[in-house]
């Protein structure tokens, strides 16, 4: 189970997250939407401990860390928390000096201390899952954006995380490549993976999400199942954001 309690994050004097509470059951998919600058990336990065939250409690699987202002968390706790989640980045961030296969083996070998042959077998299996078993020996620069992002997804899964985090996984892709990546994520949802996804693909969000959260100004404005949030939004701010998205997609 994933639980976030009273999570805040400030950069210098600016507070970016202002008290986030979230609960996610195993196998659930949560989609986070919201205008640019609302704190979506920061929220995901706090869960993966790429940013240290200012205060609040984060529980993912077996790891639970309580953050307090002006108090450095213990390195061991941060590492333990981080190892509970896998991150898929908007710009992929594949390791350019490794092949696709090596990218998916890296975490297994270096972090999980798996024997090489075991890690290779698992990496091949994950690459097959994202439809890239035949590109295992390609370097990232030899792959299309969509293929690179699929390797990124396989890499994030390679450490057996409790939770998968996606930060706008298709925003850097050409429109014709978006579909292949969304297809992979959809399959993972059907398999019962626990996921948190930041996306602007509303049709996809509607299909894949168990719940949707609208973030604005560092707080959760509205939360609910997709049919309710898209169909009968309660908050004026939600209606405003959705109509903005509608306008944009009609252009």
């Amino acid at each position: 189970m994933i639980e976030v309690r009273e999570l805040t994050k400030s950069f210098g004097g600016t507070s970016v997250l202002r008290g986030i509470d979230l609960t996610l059951e195993q196998g659930q998919v949560l989609v986070v939407i919201g205008p640019s600058g609302s704190g979506k990336s920061t929220l995901l990065r706090c869960l993966n401990a790429l940013e240290v939250p200012t205060s609040g409690t984060v529980t993912i699987g077996r790891a639970r860390v309580e953050f307090r202002p002006n108090e450095k968390p213990r390195k061991k706790d941060v590492l333990a928390l981080r190892r509970q989640s896998g991150m898929v980045f908007q710009a992929y961030h594949l390791f350019p000096h490794f092949t696709a296969l090596q990218n998916v083996m890296e975490g297994q070998v270096t972090v999980r201390r798996r024997p090489k042959n075991e890690a290779r077998a698992k990496a091949l299996q994950l690459l097959a899952k994202v439809g890239l078993e035949d590109r295992a020996d390609a370097y990232p620069h030899q792959l299309s954006g969509g293929q690179q992002q699929r390797v990124g997804i396989a890499r994030a899964m390679s450490i057996d995380p409790e939770l998968l985090l996606f930060d706008e996984p298709t925003s850097a892709l050409d429109p014709e490549l978006v579909r292949e990546v969304l297809k992979v994520i959809r399959e993972l949802a059907e398999e019962g993976r626990t996921m948190m996804i930041v996306t602007h693909e509303m049709k996809f969000a509607r299909e894949v999400a168990d719940r949707i959260v609208l973030l604005d100004g560092g707080v959760i404005v509205e939360e609910g199942p997709p049919d309710q949030l898209f169909g009968q939004p309660r908050e004026a701010r939600t209606r405003q954001f959705l109509s903005l998205l509608m306008e944009r997609s009609l252009v």
Binding site: N48, A49, L50, G86, F89, H93, G107, T110
Partner: protein, 223 residues
């Protein structure tokens, strides 16, 4: 009894010069560069470290070495230190001087190439659960190595030529040997040109090796 031609002098002196180069210039260069690279790596990591005193000590060392002439450093080590009771033979004294120099300049090259690797690479490594040291060793340094091959090769080639300064410490390397032969046959233009030619050969071999190394790293290209 034929008279000695320039060609005879050239061919007679070629082997002794080459020998001096191979016996002293080459080992002096290789040992100093190897030790210097280790020092450069440690210094670069110290400068990037969170530990203030370590970063400060590294900065101080770089400041001293870059701010003073190599020749003066060599003289301090070989001619100066004995007055403190520290006696070092000419060859090791030269190795120490050159290594310190490579360490200082090389650390700046390595530091710059580490800093040039995009932040996303650190974050991707961290997101897999790697520690800072693991990320550095597995992800950052291999990419930084590729960036630093051309500037480090430059330092290496400069070092080949800088080792001629060891002549002033009585090391009979290539240039010193040239001086000795010149004193005997009195053909400075010929002999020093020959010395230059042998340096040129050494440096050309290195440039070819550099090309091989760059090709090796180009098996993945980020562009």
């Amino acid at each position: 009894m034929g008279e000695t031609t320039n060609l005879d002098i050239f061919t007679d002196s070629f082997l002794p010069l080459l020998k001096a180069g191979i016996a002293f210039t080459v080992p002096l260069t290789l040992i100093s560069f190897a030790l210097g690279l280790v020092l450069a790596m440690l210094t670069a990591l110290a400068r990037l470290s969170d530990l203030r005193p370590l970063a400060w000590a590294a900065g101080f060392y770089i400041w001293i070495i870059r701010g003073t002439p190599l020749l003066v450093q060599l003289f301090i080590i070989f001619y100066g230190l004995p007055s403190l009771g520290i006696l070092i033979d000419a060859f090791p004294a030269a190795v120490i001087g050159f290594s310190l120099s490579v360490g200082a300049y090389g650390s700046e090259i390595i530091r710059a190439s580490i800093v040039s690797i995009p932040k996303g690479q650190w974050e991707a490594a961290y997101s897999l659960g790697e520690t800072r040291l693991q990320a550095l060793r597995r992800i950052i340094l291999p990419q930084a190595a590729r960036v630093s091959v051309p500037p480090l090769s430059n330092s290496f080639i400069s070092l080949v030529k800088d080792t001629s300064l060891a002549a002033t410490l009585t090391v009979t390397e290539l240039f010193q040997k040239g001086q000795q032969i010149t004193a005997a046959v009195y053909k400075p233009l010929l002999i020093y040109s020959e010395v230059a030619l042998i340096y040129l050969i050494f440096c050309t071999v290195l440039a070819l090796l550099q090309r091989q190394l760059e090709r090796y790293f180009d098996r993945y290209s980020t562009v």
